[in-house]
Symmetry: C2
Subunit: 242 residues, 2 copies
DNA sequence: GCCGATTTGTCCGTATGTATC
DNA sequence: CGATACATACGGACAAATCGG
């Protein structure tokens, strides 16, 4: 449910573009036309369009108009600039998914863990290893560290479903933003075992390290996602700034 | 030179945050206060702040305020959500850089190339292989394909400097946005040779494939950047959307 | 629990600037 | 040159969330 006018306009325009209502490189109706179509103010419409720009759907040209540059993307890929759980991503791509919890334990952050994760020394932590399957193929091995005080009551059973559903739904926590760093690292024995990799084939993998903050500005999650290199695909739209 | 009020406010706030004027997790002055400070309208200030949000510098909380969550980043990394040439990126990180042109040729897109790059069949193309050095270490091997009609007069000499400077400065082309896809691929003999890699060590590398559009909505560049895995690092800030 | 003050979020209308045709 | 298009900026109104008394 869109909870604001600009968002419903954004969604409608996005839908129309995806439905091929405008040819590739064709100009969309002008701002004034769209304002009349949606019966909204100029600011509201511009806000919707600016989100389409950052999605890479259109480009605006002063004095000319707004051009459709949307081209459908072929393959499975992880969304960029947006926080999405594995489950959400799988649903979006219409695939079957499953999560297996390999390890669930509680620990206290020592110097080494603190340096690695950014959690305060002495902080109580849930540490999980989870294996994500897409269409019954093991693709991602996650090392999750959650600050216990923010994720109280987390269990192995919950972790087999969606942890984010639990945090947002049951604990009423708001998840705000996340800093992610992508690197390429050597595979470990654990990776090799669970992701069914062969060192002869690939000896390294894509690693996404993320630091996630909640609405109170507390970094409550540190996660290292280790992806099978042959299935890893990350996409983004970059915008040139003056 | 900031060419707008909101941008100069954005830059000033960014500078103040980077200069540690506000403690980590501290609230910034309220909107009303900042409006008086900068003597601007509410919309203008909010626009500046919203850019800081998408930069991951602050988070806004309805009813509470705007919290500083900026933490300086330690290492060299490539900017995200922004198109940046190799040279710009090196300058930003205060490193010495050099570009070596391994190959410069012209060709016509056939079916195979068209399928790979998205250029129309029969399109005339400049094809370049370029090796980028940072602090005299070969880090990136680029395969660049430029649509000839958009990059007329490109030479090997220009390509040893900044191609973007030439396109934007001399040809007055505006570069607007770019779609990038990150994957992990096997290293090739060319990679091994020029990036001084050892297959025993790493047998794959980070590959960034990008499709870049100009202000006329023409996809004029297709580039495959092959990065040394041990130096590759990509960073972004993701925002959770309702 | 209520109320009022503060703070951010959404939306509107208008005016002016600048680029394109 | 005028008409059209997007870009920037201002000011005002109300909603929603938070916090303190």
């Amino acid at each position: 449910m869109p909870k604001s006018i600009y968002e419903s306009i954004y969604r409608d325009l996005k839908r129309r573009i995806e439905a091929d209502e405008f040819a590739y490189r064709e100009l969309l109706p002008s701002e004034n036309t769209l304002i009349q179509t949606y019966n909204c103010s100029r600011n509201t419409l511009r806000r919707a369009v600016s989100r389409l720009v950052s999605d890479g759907y259109v480009q605006t040209m002063q004095g000319k108009g707004v051009r459709n540059i949307y081209q459908p993307v072929e393959q499975t890929s992880f969304a960029i600039g947006e926080i999405e759980s594995f489950r959400e991503s799988a649903l979006r791509n219409g695939q079957s998914y499953r999560t297996q919890v390999l390890l669930f334990m509680e620990l206290t952050a020592d110097e080494a863990l603190s340096a690695k994760t950014g959690f305060p020394v002495g902080g109580e932590i849930y540490y999980l290893q989870r294996l994500h399957f897409l269409d019954e193929k093991p693709l991602i091995l996650n090392h999750n560290y959650f600050l216990k005080e923010c994720a109280r009551g987390l269990t192995k059973e919950i972790a087999e479903g969606s942890i984010y559903d639990y945090l947002e739904g049951t604990l009423r926590m708001s998840i705000v933003n996340s800093r992610r760093i992508m690197t390429v690292e050597k595979i470990t024995e654990i990776d090799e075992k669970y992701l069914e990799l062969n060192v002869e084939d690939y000896n390294c993998m894509a690693v996404v390290t993320s630091y996630t903050y909640n609405g109170d500005g507390v970094m409550f999650e540190f996660t290292q996602s280790r992806h099978r290199p042959d299935y890893f695909r990350f996409q983004e739209v970059a915008v040139r700034k003056g």
